[in-house]
Amino acid sequence: MTLYGGLVASHRGEFWPFSTFPMFAKAGRVWTRVIVRDVGDDVGGVRWSEVEQHAPSGRPFPLGAASVDQNDLSALMSSAGDRLDRTRRSVLERWFRDVRGDRHLVIYAVRGSLDGDGLVQVRYRPVALLGPTGVVGAAETPR
């Protein structure tokens, strides 16, 4: 049991072969996932500082086709601030290197919660821009 406790504690609650399954253990918790939108050349149309209630601008960019793992991207970006550190920047550069091309991709952190009436609220916050010239955080984007 000591070994079990040590291993689970050192793996953020999820250690093979045991797990506290934190996603499901804490019901009703606020979650954050990510989506990627292809905004083409219309970077100016992206609202960088706002949290939006509806699906943001641009077209969906399916991660499956780009061989980017949704869980990995969520783990990387869900706690990202407005500026990207070197690790996040280099990982995003590598993961999207082959699919970025000339387009502009915006990564949104999607936050879900239950409101006072018990209804699901989903809000979107842009966290990074992947363009032909590189990867930048929301606070570093051209305005």
């Binding site: 045991f18 019901a27 996932r33 783990a75």
Partner: protein, 313 residues
Amino acid sequence: VIRAAPPFDFDTPESRGERVQALVFEITAVGLAMLALWGWVGPISRTPVIVAPLGVARYLDLSFMLDARWASLNALLACACFVLGLSHRVRFAHLVGLALFHVAYVARFCIGKTDHRSNLIGLSLLSLGLAAALFPDPKLRRRAALGFTLLLFGTAYTSAAIHKLSASGLLWVDGRHLWLWIAEKSVDTMSIYGATHFNFVQRAVLGSRGLGTVMLSAGLGTELFAWMMWMKRPRRWVLFGLVLMHLGIDLSMNISFAANQLLLLMLALPIAETTERYLATKRSDLDPGSSQTRRSAGAGSSRAACRAGRYRG
């Protein structure tokens, strides 16, 4: 100590069907482990740095695994160990394979998240490895592997239910929580495929908080009583219940637990009984006169005994 634990049965005779079922389970676990290993090579080698060192990666530098050649070599060696383990000629092969599997698992976890299917695969390998290392006798090894597997599976599922109750209390089953998880997974589906739609189960749950509560209650109850798989009588039903629970999770939240379902089915399905029936049929097909001969011989003996009795009388 092991003999005293409930899921271990070393004393009852072992049928050929049980031997077949044990082998089928072992092949399934090893096959799933190999698939997982090779599935991790791509994502690991596409990531330039260890994003978040976890577990043993805090003490060992696993960045060498980010090179596709090392990740592939590790997977190859682990697969070779599992094949040796399957041959039952090298006692510690499964455990060495498991250690390599763990290195790959940790490397995969350090770049994001490893899906939950690897939990039961790992538990199965651990059971098979411990049994092979501790019990050289083939029958005892198979029984120990089954016992360890049931012990660990039952513990894992029941502890998952206890974690839910301790983190959220009885209100964990509130159907609105399922709405929130459905929304979370629909964002994932949208992110992966660029589109999402709700299936009939999701639509029904989103339209009825009560139905969501019933589904969560059924899932929690199934997990909570998973330890009952340690007992022979309810085992099959508990295992089938868990398979159905995973089906419910898949339908309501789009989270596939195919590997878990497959492993549970390999324990739950009547493979041993079916094999026994097949072997009995084959035996009688090969030797159609044997049963008739036995019956005649038996009747003859009876007649002889009767005659002897009459004679004596």
